[in-house]
């Protein structure tokens, strides 16, 4: 299972990457929006975790870009940010995000569950 995490905070990337790798997931990371878009298009991950406040395209711009591209529009994208949900939650939903997670509320093991659940959901809709 391929997971792409886009975040400009190294500590966050390291934390989630290590925890998800322990679950046998193949984790790729990008540290800005532009790199995130390129990796998403080249590698076609199964799921994308996207921060919002980042250099070179913020997370919402990246989301819009991915949803407008037929190659990437079916990949579930979660916003994984520390901006409160009241701030960008509605906008994210409107742009087609699969979910809005506040990092402070989601410990790494909880993120594992979210990812597993989402992948399960995708499988079920495909069947």
């Amino acid at each position: 299972m391929k997971v792409l995490i886009v975040d400009d905070e190294k500590g966050i990337l390291k934390m989630y990457q290590e925890r998800l790798s322990m679950e046998g997931m193949e984790v790729t990371t990008a540290s800005n929006g532009e790199e995130g878009i390129n990796l998403a298009k080249n590698q076609k991950p199964d799921i994308i975790m996207l921060d919002i406040i980042m250099p070179k395209f913020n997370g919402l711009d990246v989301l819009k870009n991915l949803k407008n591209d037929p190659d990437t529009k079916n990949i579930p994208v979660f916003l994984l940010t520390n901006l409160p949900a009241e701030c960008s939650g509605d906008k994210a939903k409107e742009l087609g995000a699969a979910g809005y997670l506040v990092k402070a509320e989601y410990e790494p093991k909880m993120l594992v569950n979210v990812i597993k659940g989402a992948i399960e959901g995708v499988k079920q809709t495909k069947n």
Binding site: E9, R19, L83, E86, V102, P108, K109
Partner: protein
């Protein structure tokens, strides 16, 4: 911008009324029996006056600025109306009221000094009429008393219209100020919200990293820890968790306290909400010595309230009850009394000191009973509850007996939309 359109609007009205007057006069003179007018020269005279007025209006409209134009036009109107009234002889008095149109126009739209000047010109004109009348140079006699009355009227109208104009202007200014003030408040609220959101973001980021790594260490993701290490990691994990809670609550308070904050009131069923919350607590509570009981009325009625915010209040209150009740029942009751929805959360816990009851809803207040428990609260939960309930127009209070338990109550106005109230 608005001032200009206001001027323009009135200018048009007076302009049109002047022309209606001219047309009326021509019509009158032309179709009335001969004897009304002295001789045929009157027709030529009227024609000449109309032509001159036309040229005059054209010139002032073409070459003068807005204020000057209005000023000159008002003078022209007065002179023109005066001449026409005299040409009409006995019928002239019927048209005398028309005189007041340009005077009123000047007083309403011009500065005070200019308006006064116009009134003075009109007054001088009347004096001139009296003089001409006394010399028997006018076909129609105007005596002194009539003249004084006329001048009096002119001044009265000027003062009245001036007063009106000032009132209108003041009212408009106040309205504009109000709009500007509201806009400023809204901008301020947006700035404050953005600031709080970014502050939360900056605080959350390091906290989520510490908490995440602490939880991974705690879960032995990096190998088994010895008991001492495990205890240390546990402390780090719990204190960062508390910090996250604190940031959440500060964010909540800051949102609730902004002037622009609006409750999202919708029609909802409180009993359903209570059932959901209680079942969530039943699933997550670690203490099997606590039982949460629900006491609901037989036919609860839905009413208007902010479901998410009230959920937060009930959550806080039940959470507190569990925290301070080592063993026993927690009763969650909802009833309707005197058009108020009353919620009660009653526990059989350690209770609160009588001296602490009054301060319970203050921010960061911690009662003496806290020493008996390993407490992880933030001291903001009840304060937030109070803000939310008061925003609803309700009230929240508590009573307690030390050692026997506490009861927290809050009541909300039973707002029922009209179409449902009739049923």
């Amino acid at each position: 911008m608005k001032d200009k359109s206001f001027l323009q609007k009135y200018e048009r009205v007076f302009e049109i009324s002047t022309w209606i007057l001219i047309v009326l006069v021509i019509f009158f003179v032309r179709f009335l029996p001969k004897k009304v007018i002295d001789d045929g020269t009157s027709y030529i005279l009227i024609g000449l006056i109309a032509a001159m007025a036309l040229i005059y209006y054209f010139v002032i409209y073409r070459f003068f600025s807005k204020t000057k134009r209005l000023y000159l036009k008002d003078i022209a109107d007065i002179v023109l109306i005066g001449i026409l009234i005299h040409l009409l002889k006995d019928y002239g008095t019927y048209f005398y009221a028309l005189y007041f149109i340009p005077i009123a126009a000047a007083a309403l739209t011009l500065e005070f000094i200019n308006a006064l000047l116009i009134a003075t010109i009109a007054a001088v004109f009347v004096i001139f009429e009296i003089f001409l009348g006394s010399q028997e140079l006018l076909p129609q006699q105007i005596n002194f008393n009539q003249g004084v009355w006329q001048i009096g009227f002119i001044l009265l109208i000027t003062i009245f219209c001036r007063y009106l104009a000032v009132q209108i202007r003041e009212e408009r200014r106040q309205k504009e100020e109000l709009v500007a003030h509201k806009k400023m408040l809204e901008e301020e609220a947006v700035r404050q919200r953005d600031f709080m959101n970014l502050t939360a973001h900056q605080l959350y980021t390091p906290l989520s990293i510490s908490r995440g790594f602490a939880s991974m260490l705690n879960d032995a993701n990096y190998g088994t820890l010895n008991p001492k290490q495990k205890e240390a990691v546990r402390e780090v994990y719990e204190s960062t968790t508390r910090m996250v809670g604190l940031v959440n609550e500060l964010l909540s308070i800051s949102r609730l306290e902004t002037e622009s904050f609006q409750l999202n009131k919708k029609i909802a069923e409180p009993d359903q909400l209570l059932k959901n919350i209680v079942s969530e607590f039943e699933q997550t509570k670690n203490n099997n010595d606590i039982h949460i009981l629900l006491d609901l009325p037989n036919n609860p009625r839905p009413f208007m309230f902010d479901k998410e915010k009230i959920r937060q209040v009930i959550y806080n209150l039940i959470g507190n009850a569990i925290k301070y009740t080592p063993k026993g029942n927690i009763t969650v009751k909802y009833e309707v009394a005197h058009h108020r929805a009353v919620f009660t959360i009653k526990d059989e816990g350690i209770g609160i000191d009588a001296t602490d009851i009054g301060n319970l809803f203050q921010p960061f207040f911690r009662g003496k009973n806290i020493l008996e428990l390993d407490n992880k609260g933030t001291g903001l939960g009840l304060y937030i509850a109070k803000i939310i309930i008061e925003k609803h127009g309700g009230r929240i209070w508590a009573d307690s007996i030390r050692g026997q338990g506490s009861s927290f109550y809050f009541e909300l106005p039973l707002l029922i939309p009209e179409h449902l109230a009739k049923k």
